[in-house]
Amino acid sequence: MGKAFQRPEALAENHTHYCPGCTHGIAHRLVAEVIDELGIRDRTVGIAPVGCAVMCYNYFTFDFQEAAHGRAPAMATGIKRVRPDLIVFTYQGDGDLASIGMSEIVHAANRGEKFTTIFINNAVYGMTGGQMAPTTLPDQRTTTSPFGRKVLDTGMPVKVAELLAALQTPAFITREALIKPKHINKAKKAIKRAFTYQMEDTCFSLVELVSTCPTNWGMTPLEALKWAEEKMLPYYELGELKSPEQAGR
């Protein structure tokens, strides 16, 4: 028994700047593995967000653009409309996608732009030092909710996958996690399915990935995985929310 394992070609060799145990590294690798397996590296264009992954282009070996905060779905729209043959994905965190970029993702999804979005949900703003995000849980302490998120003041956390699934335009919307190996395997399948839909010109896809941020949660990497499993999964439920097959595509 046993199997081989190596770094995918679509992932660069250099060491990442991410914190120890940060699940960005897992997400990046899954995307790269999928790109390798689907054989699409030479026609893929990735779009980096503003966030910890702002320099994610340093970790991939294909064409990349760097977007302004929240605007990646608009840039992806621009690329797909003028070069529909390119495979385009955005890689975005909670602030980028669910705060400043909420309009761009909703409208791109609603128009059915045929690109793929990988959405990293770690309930906090990482790069800027741990401020509250739209996805921060009730009572969760962050640097701008030092007494815990007060739902009466700032509302409930945003469930992006459900929000987008409510749009009428067919799409593939799903939520997986990067917590245990079984979650990660499912996440990879979801990512592969999303990119395959794009190759077949079917629909917009969003794969939300429940992720950890040990540094800004003030935990060790293993504690962070545990917190994500115990606190985030009950609220951010895993599984497919919408698929193009439901709309007869």
């Binding site: 026609r43 264009v45 320099m55 282009y57 977007a67 608009a74 729209t77 003028v82 390119l86 409208h107």
Partner: protein
Amino acid sequence: MAKVLMKGNEAIGEAAIRAGCLNYFAYPITPQSEVAEYLSRRLPEVGGTFLQGESEVAVSYMIFGAAATGERVFTTSSSPGISLMSEGISYITAAQCPAVFVNIMRGGPGLGGILPSQADYFQSVKGGGHGDYRLLVMAPASVQEAVEMMMEAFALAEKYTNPVMILGDGLIGQMMEPVEFPDELKAPPSNKDAWATNGMGTRNSKERNLVKTLYLVPEELNAHNLKLRDKYRQMERDEVRFEPYNLDCDYKVLIVSYGTMSRVCRTAIDNFSEKGIDVGMIRPQTLFPFPLEAVYQAAARQGCQAVLSVEMNMGQMLEDVERAVKGKRPVSWYGKCGGEVPTPEEVMEAVENLMQ
């Protein structure tokens, strides 16, 4: 070639197609929505791409994404919409991608008014977005000139890998004049494979391209800015355009005016000539790069007593005119805002006040 009577906004849209640009993203805003309406019908006819985005903010990034693949792309908007696009413009300039922006100016600031103005001079020429960047800014004074400038804009944007702005106003956008689209102004193909994110397979390359604007290492960001500045210096050397009017006489006052305001000034100058009074004008056709030398020489001419910047704003180009004249002659401003277009008589009165 036959001339066609066209509304400015529609002619601008058609000009892009004739130049070889078949991609347009935009958001409606008065007084330029007709560009989108026209192109929504016309672009499908020529196999082009049309998309009405959800906001000017989003549109500016659709432009960025598309431009970064090396495809020709443009958008049109009006003053408040250009404010929203200003961040995107800063990014596109930093990333060194070609793109064309058209501002059909309306009254401001804020929601302002929907009638023409020239109140976005600072915004376009001095930078509405952040950081050290410039746009090549061209200001047409007729629908025909708007067509020609639009057609040339794409080649210029690709020559400098920098966005170009056409600064029009609501009059240019709305009025109808006869136009023709000169074939020789169609932009030639340019090599984008050196920098565009158009897919490694498209370029037959093992090297990927990266379009970015982040340079965290100070020395790198400084070097990047120096590179951008060199481009602007080249524009200042090679791309200045202006039109002299009635300078072959002993004019006492030099008017500096652009766009539709310059047409009113032209009438004022002709009226003066009939009365035997000489007034000259320099009409900048590029606002960046500004015709500094031409304005100086014209102001420094023996007999010229004063310089008048005439613009539909509260005095913006005025500052570049003062800079050009270098204190050689007194420089004043005359203008109106809010959509009020000064009449030739009002311009004449302002000039006469200077002559006393």
